[in-house]
Point group: C2
């Protein structure tokens, strides 16, 4: 097995295993599974490499340290959620529907088990590990909230976006993690109706 | 060291270590420390017993299984939060201030590091372990929300109380766990002003 000395990067360098098509994707897939199953703390680079059937040096080659592997996993897990900012603004100049559209988009992503599971895994890692929390915080700020903030165009836009995020995160925790009844099984349309005015107020209210 | 055969309970049975004054409290203190440091999964009865300087059988004697030890730890950790329902209703018939009083009470409990740390520890365990989540869910429903529900006196009171809880839990996650700025360092009075109308709407709104 090769232990490439080339600087890490996303390109596929010459050389046996490091150049295999799909190697990076296989490592990333193994990493996402292990982060989900064990959490950030217990998913070691060694275990990720083993699950992907590669040498640990190859994981470092493609991603760097564990923190960067997690960052790449967060990126993939949040891909479906990144549409939220488009949902917020697309095809409309009417801000009065922002809360409802955001609530509906958020619930669509979380109601689908395929998109919910990786988000739950990331949340679990971030709640229990400081490094994972730092990675998630950076990602959420840079990739999710900054775009909402740009759209809001208000001096306190960052706080507004984060207050809206806090309502949605709390809903995710009570409905999908703690599974408290009745909030865990209320129909999504009912939840949209309950949550939308809160999001609207946080985003655009007085 | 004795391994008492008596049925478990809070009473102090005859016999050497099981009868020592403060034994139960010492075990509970060790359990809370270990749950906080390691999370529910990794805090074994054996480790708790060792930290308390007693035999593992004594932990079982006083509490039963690990689940019940965690339940007792949750009880102690949430003691400061139990005043929330009084804060909501005490000395007033005016429901219009419920949101503001609840927001202020919640932030008082979470801003104080002595009361915040054990709550964070419980939240971390519940987010990562299904048994811990079940214990926390039962406690929150029975001891916190049921009283709020009783006070609200509306057919959808349970959902209303849980929506209010979801906003507060989400605030705790963004401010104290993920520490996203600016929500992590906004003055509490500013947060009370932002959150109170949301809680009020969830609790008593149309």
């Amino acid at each position: 097995m090769t232990t490439p000395k080339a600087p890490r990067g996303r390109g596929r360098p010459a050389g046996s295993r490091a150049g295999d098509p799909g190697t990076r994707e296989r490592i990333l897939g193994a990493a996402r599974t292990l982060f989900a199953e064990r959490g950030y703390d217990k998913a070691s680079i060694r275990a990720i490499a083993q699950a992907a059937g590669v040498d640990a040096a190859l994981v470092h080659h493609y991603f760097g340290a564990k923190e960067q592997v997690f960052e790449a996993a967060v990126e993939v897990s949040f891909a479906p959620a990144l549409g939220a900012t488009e949902a917020l603004t697309e095809g409309t100049v009417d801000r009065s529907e922002a809360g409802e559209r955001l609530a509906r988009y958020f619930l669509d992503v979380w109601e689908n088990p395929a998109t919910r599971a990786p988000l739950l895994a990331v949340l679990r890692s971030a709640v229990t590990n400081e490094t994972a929390a730092t990675v998630l915080r950076g990602f959420v700020l840079r990739r999710l909230l900054s775009r909402v903030v740009g759209e809001l165009d208000q001096p306190d836009a960052a706080l507004r976006a984060q207050l809206a995020a806090s309502q949605m995160i709390g809903l995710a925790v009570t409905r999908y993690v703690l599974k408290i009844e009745p909030i865990a099984s209320v129909p999504t349309e009912e939840l949209v109706a309950r949550i939308a005015p809160t999001l609207q107020r946080h985003l655009t209210g007085a």
